[in-house]
């Protein structure tokens, strides 16, 4: 199965890159872009065909390696 892991800074954590991007967009005339948060995206190829197992495995590696729980949160999609 494949898991997609989206890692972003927690809403309470200032994102200097996102801030710079939104300022650039607004200066280009995209006034309707109110905010940008930058994150990371991972695709995991998992050697399992069982959905629950795939979700647990992806969550385990996200907890231990892909995200730093002090500043980041993550979301997982499995298919």
């Amino acid at each position: 199965m494949r898991a997609r892991v989206f890692v972003t800074l927690k809403p309470s954590v200032f994102d200097p890159q996102g801030r710079t991007i939104v300022e650039a967009l607004q200066s280009l005339g995209y006034g309707n872009v109110a905010d940008v948060r930058q994150g990371k995206y991972f695709e995991l190829d998992l050697a399992t065909t069982e959905r629950g197992q795939a979700e647990r495995l992806a969550a385990d590696v996200a907890d231990k390696v892909l995200a730093n729980p002090v500043i980041e949160s993550y979301r997982i999609e499995v298919d």
Partner: protein
């Protein structure tokens, strides 16, 4: 005393730390490769600056899994003195040996310059030779030194007097203009609750000789050498 200086693939301040320990302070020093399983009898461990494992994923994130970090962790838990400088500080944070995390510098720029630091605490093995309120001028060189801790953790860190150095102006006053990276509460250096593990973004090993622009970093090395000497003389007493 013997300094153990950890070398990760991508460390680049290991030789400066080695030079400071051996040539400037006349102590024994040995490199510890990241795959080593023991600390070769080191009395103090330095995690130096650089880009351990390329800093892929997050700064310090991969270095935490290097084999040498198991004995470093055990050494730290026994009360052994550990100093993380710059990338070494980031490794200590990712390892959970110090609380909090690093974010990109607020201005997004890599900052390489001398900064002013106020000594906040002297009851650690790395600041014992300094005085509280003393202002040190030591260089920084980093892109991710914007220290962050959630409010409840920050409260605990301040209550336990774990902040060792803060970014200040030349007169020792905290202001936004003197904070090079946006660190919360101007935090430049931090210790653990046991006070034996210290992380600092500035580079004391680059400020040990007048030839390279200043000697204010010497107090960090002086502190640990003196702390070891007094521990040794206590141990010799009957």
């Amino acid at each position: 005393m013997k300094f153990g200086i950890v070398v990760f693939p991508g460390s680049n301040c290991d030789e400066d730390a080695f030079h400071a320990a051996r040539d400037v302070f006349g102590q024994d020093a040995e490199y510890l490769w990241h795959k080593d399983a023991d600390l070769k009898g080191a009395d103090v461990v330095i995690l130096p600056g650089g880009f351990a494992h390329g800093d892929y994923l997050r700064t310090g994130a991969m270095a935490r899994f290097s084999p040498v970090m198991a004995p470093v962790r055990a050494f730290a838990e026994r009360g052994g003195p550990v100093l993380g400088i710059c990338n070494g500080f980031q490794v200590l944070l990712e390892s959970g040996l110090l609380p909090g995390a690093m974010l990109r510098n607020k201005g997004l720029k890599y900052r390489c310059e001398h900064v002013h630091l106020r000594v906040e605490q002297t009851d650690t093995p790395f600041t014992a030779a300094a005085t509280v309120g003393q202002v040190l001028t030591i260089p920084i060189g980093h892109g991710e030194g914007n220290y962050f801790a959630p409010p409840e953790t920050l409260k605990e860190i301040e209550a336990n007097r774990q902040v060792i150095l803060r970014y200040v102006d030349p007169l020792g006053r905290i202001d936004q203009a003197s904070n090079p990276n946006g660190s919360v509460n101007g935090i430049a250096a931090l210790c653990n609750q046991g006070r034996n593990v210290v992380g600092m973004m500035p580079h004391p090993e680059r400020a040990c000789e007048a030839l390279v622009g200043g000697v204010d970093g010497r107090v960090i090395f002086d502190s640990i050498v003196r702390a070891f000497r007094s521990a040794e003389s206590l141990a010799l007493q009957p």
